[in-house]
Amino acid sequence: MRALLFVLLGLLSVPRVGSGEEVTVFAAASLADALEEIARAYERSSGNRVVLNVGATSDLARQIKAGAGADLFLSADRAQMDGLTEAGLVRDADRIELLSNVLVVVVPSGAPTRIGAPADLARLGRIALADPEAVPAGVYARTYLEAIGLWSSLRDRVVPTLNVRAALAAVESGNVDAGIVYRTDAALSRRVRIAYTVPPESGPKIVYVLAPLASPRKGAALDLARRLAGPEARTIFEKYGFQVLAAR
């Protein structure tokens, strides 16, 4: 009986991949698929293990401030990274502005909605946005709508969701008439159709920022950060539709 117990305990403590370190990455929801691919490739080549926690950037930042054990943070906007920098959890010198994205208006794939100009948005019923008060995707969308003077008329129709993927799901389900998400999200779903692309020139400046946490500052974390900024990762990001900003 005791031998069996020891064997079980032994099995539980064996790491899945080799005997390397473990790196925990907190990243914006829109990066889920691209990061998954990059992380698995990294695991195979480095022998380290990557734990990926994706969600709304604002939610993740809150968790980190509350003491969650993250090694790397990939934020969908500068504001959330600024918050961590101010809290002393990230060193300014470690920040890398990695990616950009484009906002699109999506509608359920079968819907006949036509949006020729932003003003046409006023004809829509319910619009799903990642929470415009804090989640980057929603904040970008709100900033854009404010800039073109449509926010006050549209805000009553907004259905705020937990993160940008939830907004996408809401459109997919048909329970809202439209949603504003990243182009990279829309590309992944067959159940939505892009009705309007926010021109990058008139839209908000979308910047994804990468940084290792000041502590514990593991070797493996810094290693993965370098990889994320490297050429193989760039290929993968571009495959999913992200714009890779000039590396630092």
Binding site: S58, R62, R126, D131, E133, A134, V159, P160, N175
Partner: protein
């Protein structure tokens, strides 16, 4: 102490919880009565089905409701065609809180009904009461304490409902944001100080609800014993 929006959230939460309780009340009593009396086949399955919202994770219940009432579903589509939107509206809040509170009321009421001597009901029948009259003149008056306790419990549960509500109604400010959802949102956007204030309000409300039951139960109980 509370901003105008926050006060609105409190009022909205009370209204929705009250409406949900009122709507489930007759259904729950009927179910409780049925469970108390029915002795045939399928009773166990029915009991389990009615108790599901108690043991399932609220998010699972919310998901089921979302699937059932989504515009793409048969039911949701039918309602939408008649101009009745449920998902992401206050109606979904009432629906979610009602469904989650339902089994609590059924349980309390059922125990209360089972405690009523069935012979007394039979006697009432011989004295000229139909089945319905016998329920209102004998069973209910004798079971009122349990029914009241169950109702307050259901109301208090409705006040605090979160998981199912957030799934099927969303957290839309001014539309579907209840106290529980507001607490969550405040903490999400870094306003922990307001979240704590709202949490304190929830505690106060729950306390008031339970205290009122105690008072009512004692005062009404005393009068009927004189």
């Amino acid at each position: 102490m509370l901003s105008r929006d926050e006060a609105g959230v409190v009022l909205f939460t009370l209204e929705v919880a009250a409406l949900a309780t009122v709507l489930i009340f007759p259904l729950a009593l009927a179910a409780a009565l049925g469970l108390a009396r029915y002795r045939g086949p399928g009773k166990g399955a029915l009991e389990t089905l009615l108790s599901l919202p108690l043991i399932l994770p609220p998010t699972a219940v919310g998901l089921l409701l979302l699937e059932a009432f989504s515009r793409r579903s048969a039911l949701g589509g039918w309602l939408a065609a008649r101009g009745l939107e449920v998902v992401f509206t206050w109606k979904a809040v009432v629906l979610a809180t009602g469904v989650m509170s339902f089994p609590l009321l059924v349980r309390s009421a059922r125990t209360a009904f089972e405690d009523v001597d069935p012979r007394l009901v039979g006697l009432a029948r011989t004295l000229g009461c139909g089945a319905v009259a016998a329920f209102f003149r004998v069973t209910l008056p004798l079971a009122w304490r349990g029914v009241l306790a169950g109702t307050v419990l259901a109301f208090a549960r409705a006040l605090g409902e979160f998981g199912a509500t957030v799934m099927v109604a969303g957290n839309i400010p001014g539309r579907t944001r209840t106290l529980a959802l507001a607490i969550f949102h405040d903490s999400q956007v870094g306003r922990d100080d307001r979240a704590v204030v709202l949490a304190a309000v929830t505690v106060a409300l729950a306390f008031a609800a339970l205290w009122t039951t105690e008072l009512l139960s004692r005062r009404l109980g005393r009068r009927s014993e004189e």
